[in-house]
């Protein structure tokens, strides 16, 4: 009898341990094989931010209601995407605080607090966009430019390595991406004249496995696209999580603006590899191909939007596509096997280019460059979209993007560079005579045609989530989380969360109940259908 219970204990222990391990194989199959979980920043390697869950659907979403609210107690913009693994939610917050929560009740399990040094210089708030998970470790990229591994059950630090010197303007705000045995991160600091890079670290030890510098040195490919000595402080950060194609073993990671963002006098040329998407070998970090969206950018149009991977037929040929709704106002479709430009079409108002030529380069319009006194250009510096995640639904075949409609007055002036100080080359200001607005737009990805749009009162900062319940969720800057009919764009439900939304929603399932969660203000809010409605459905009433 005694012997038997020991065996039972052992079996249970094995089962729990196995559950706690998030293997690379699990990540490869996410979200399809385990839709109850949300295992990566974008839900899966393809960046589609689509969930097969369908308990919450077009027929019942009207009954969606908050089930719990977790208060982080940390001020600032809450931009994180939580991960959910087997009933536990892991979320990072402002100031690199991080929490493990009971995903059914919102009750905290552990908390990680980081002593962020006073001198860190993130351009746009002390924000963090989330964890990566692999094995029993969580990975956090910090404001002081470290990469940290935490034990997923306790929050204890397993390793903590410095990637760069925060005193020089280097920071991390990105949610890392776990691929095989490596943790991939991209640096922030395009406002401080850093030299951008994408790093991979060994998940077990924290040892750096490779680094790809996004600004080449003399003698390296791409260096001839920098005239003058501007490359020394060339920027091109990489602060939004990339996507991954396991078949080709390529990581697709986008890069940001050259520095200084509004003055190009000391950096003639295209300024590779700023404002590009890079296809990097996941094992070696070697560049397979690159595509630059905005050569010699003068408008702060980082290309740091999530690349969405899709296999689809285009012009009669089955292709491996990469979709990119870019901050410069154009929706691009590339062949992700070789980086070939296929087409681009505006998805927002833009006044700077006649179009994108067959070679993928913009055909510039006169008057689009910043001037000493200011020139009005659309989109504004924040762009037609930004870090907020788009999504793609295989159910509808549509790509969803939250769009900002706003123009800016761009000025330009030379600026003396001081390491570790803001380096912008003048500034931009909002066009005060035109009220900003926004829209959730549904695009047909193989044509760029806008199938429907919902007009937001103001330009949004929140991302989207598509689900097999026929829904797409998006947030607005007034604090509303909104559920739409994914086919037609009809608003089916909305909820005022009480603070501007700067995050992208996720969905998960526990004990037969589907939840939708989003960060808002200092709160993480989780919604579900009321228990009564679910029971009614089960009993057929």
């Amino acid at each position: 009898m005694k012997h038997k219970s020991l065996i039972l204990v052992a079996v249970v222990a094995v089962a729990l341990t196995a559950k706690a391990q998030v293997t690379y194989e699990r990540l490869l199959k996410a979200p399809g094989a385990e839709p109850q979980n949300w295992l990566t920043f974008s839900g899966g390697y393809n960046g589609q931010r689509f969930s097969p869950l369908q308990q919450i659907n077009t027929g019942n979403v009207q009954e969606l209601a908050p089930q719990w609210i977790f208060q982080t107690g940390v001020m600032g913009k809450f931009e994180a995407t939580p991960l959910v693994v087997d009933g536990v939610m892991y979320v990072t917050a402002q100031e690199d605080a991080a929490f493990a929560l009971d995903a059914r009740t919102g009750r905290p399990i552990w908390k990680y607090v980081r002593a962020v040094p006073e001198g860190v210089q993130p351009c746009c708030g002390h924000v963090n966009r989330g964890f990566a998970i692999l094995g029993d470790k969580l990975f956090l990229a910090t404001l002081d430019a470290h990469v940290v591994a935490l034990d997923s059950r306790t929050g204890s630090v397993i390793w903590d390595v410095e990637a760069a010197d925060y005193r020089q303007g280097y920071t991390f705000t990105v949610a890392p991406l776990a691929v095989k045995d490596k943790i991939i991160v991209g640096v922030s600091g395009g406002e401080y004249g850093v030299r951008g890079f994408i790093d991979a670290y060994d998940a077990g030890t924290g040892k750096r496995a490779w680094r790809f510098y996004t600004v080449p040195q003399p003698g390296e490919p791409g260096f001839d696209t920098w005239k003058g000595d501007g490359w020394k402080r060339g920027g091109a950060p990489a602060w939004v999580t990339g996507s991954y194609d396991p078949e080709m073993n390529l990581v697709y990671w986008a890069t940001g603006n050259p520095s200084p963002s509004n003055y190009g006098g000391d950096r003639g040329g295209d300024n590779l590899f700023s404002n590009s998407v890079l296809a990097l070998d996941a094992d070696s970090g070697k560049l397979k191909w690159h595509f630059q969206f905005t050569p010699h950018d003068l408008h702060d149009w980082d290309a740091t939007e999530v690349p969405v991977l899709l296999d689809a037929e285009l012009n009669g040929k089955q292709r491996k596509l990469l979709l990119h709704a870019n901050r410069n106002g154009f929706f691009y479709v590339l062949d992700r096997s070789d980086g070939k430009f296929l087409f681009a079409k505006p998805f927002a108002r833009q006044t700077w280019a006649k179009g994108i030529g067959p070679d993928g380069r913009p055909e510039l319009l006169p008057g689009g460059d910043p001037t000493p006194d200011g020139a009005k250009v659309c989109p504004g510096a924040i762009g037609a979209t930004n870090f907020m995640s788009p999504s793609y639904s295989p159910q509808t075949g549509l790509f969803y993007v939250n769009v900002r409609e706003q123009c800016d007055i761009f000025t330009t002036a030379p600026q003396v560079f001081h390491a570790g100080r803001a380096f912008l080359g003048s500034a931009y200001s909002m066009d005060a005579d035109e009220k900003d607005w926004g829209a959730l737009r549904a695009l047909e990805p193989t044509t760029g045609e806008i199938k429907w749009e919902f007009r937001h009162h103001s330009a949004p900062w929140a991302g989207t989530l598509a689900t097999a319940g026929g829904l797409v969720f998006a947030g607005d800057i007034e604090g509303n989380l909104i559920a739409f009919d994914a086919r037609e764009g009809k608003v089916l439900w909305h909820f005022e969360t009480g603070s501007a939304l700067y995050a992208s929603p996720i969905t998960y399932s526990l004990n037969g109940r589907q939840y939708v969660a989003v960060a808002s203000g200092q709160a993480l809010v989780s919604f579900a259908l009321p228990q009564g409605a679910l029971e009614k459905k089960k009993s057929g009433r």
Binding site: P122, E191, W239, D300, G420, Y428, A432, K435, E478
Partner: protein, 268 residues
């Protein structure tokens, strides 16, 4: 990425406010003026305008009139600590002591002597008398509710902006914000609501999102709507404030009125 929020302090420690009699050590220094111009552009120009001429959010800093003290030490304090109760934020975590002095050197280089020729006392008479301004605007606790409270107007807007607002109230009607902080009054845009019963209510939008609308009606009462429950919401690119052209308000009277408004600094 856009520089939107606080840029944290670099290697220098946080500056302590000098006493008002402290002098700018970089006064008149050409390089400091140049550096100050750069700092001004990316830290201050979004509200004060690219060349400090003022915008609808903040006053001109070129007139030699300083709402919160014009000595070097007072300007330093204003920049570093902001002005409580106004939109002027503290810059102590953004600008080092040296950079603050550079900005002050730059601002000093721009000064044009203030020539507000108007008679403020006469302007006040117009404001409370034939202008009927108090029927819509409140000053220091007296007046109407339809238009913005003007108690601190002189500290918040340039004289040129005031004159334009009187002659052409609809010239700059955008709400002037992109973020939801609602730290700027939005009492500019005219909204007309047709209710489900066909009743027409006109007012100014106090707040709005995609689903609801809160307005101050012409009756100076709050009216709160769900957009799904009304027949129509029409935004009018026109202010409810009537324009005051020269035939109604002479140039001299305009000068007087602006002189009065420019002197409004809030309740003592």
């Amino acid at each position: 990425m856009a520089l939107l929020a606080a840029v944290a302090l670099g290697q220098t420690s946080v500056a302590v406010s000098p006493a008002p009699e402290v002098k700018n050590p970089l006064a008149g220094n050409p390089q400091a003026i140049q550096e100050g111009r750069s700092q001004f552009r990316f830290n201050c120009s979004m509200c004060h305008g690219v060349d400090a001429q003022g915008t609808q959010k903040a006053p001109s800093l070129t007139t030699g009139r300083w709402a919160h003290g014009g000595s070097d030490g007072e300007l330093f304090r204003t920049v570093q600590h902001g002005v409580p109760g106004t939109l002027m934020p503290a810059q102590e975590s953004i600008l080092t002591e040296t950079e603050t002095w550079q900005v002050i050197s730059y601002l000093r280089s721009l000064q044009k002597p203030a020539t507000l020729a108007g008679d403020a006392a006469r302007g006040r008479e117009i404001f409370i008398g034939e202008g009927s301004c108090l029927s819509c605007h409140m000053v220091n606790g007296h007046g109407g509710r339809l238009g913005p409270d003007l108690s601190r107007l002189g500290a918040e807007r340039s004289a040129a902006y005031l004159a334009e607002s009187i002659r052409q109230p609809s010239a700059h009607l955008a709400e002037g914000i992109t973020e939801p902080n609602k730290d700027l009054a939005q009492k500019y845009q005219t909204v007309e609501v047709i209710t489900a019963q066909g009743k027409r209510i006109v007012g100014v939008a106090l707040n709005e999102d995609s689903f609801s609308l809160q307005i101050m009606g012409m009756d100076q009462q709050l009216h709160l709507f769900l957009k799904s429950e009304v027949r129509e919401v029409v935004h009018k690119p026109k202010s409810l404030m009537p324009p005051y052209p020269p035939e109604m308000l002479s140039d001299k009277e305009l000068q007087d009125l602006v002189a009065y408004l420019a002197g409004l600094r809030g309740q003592p």
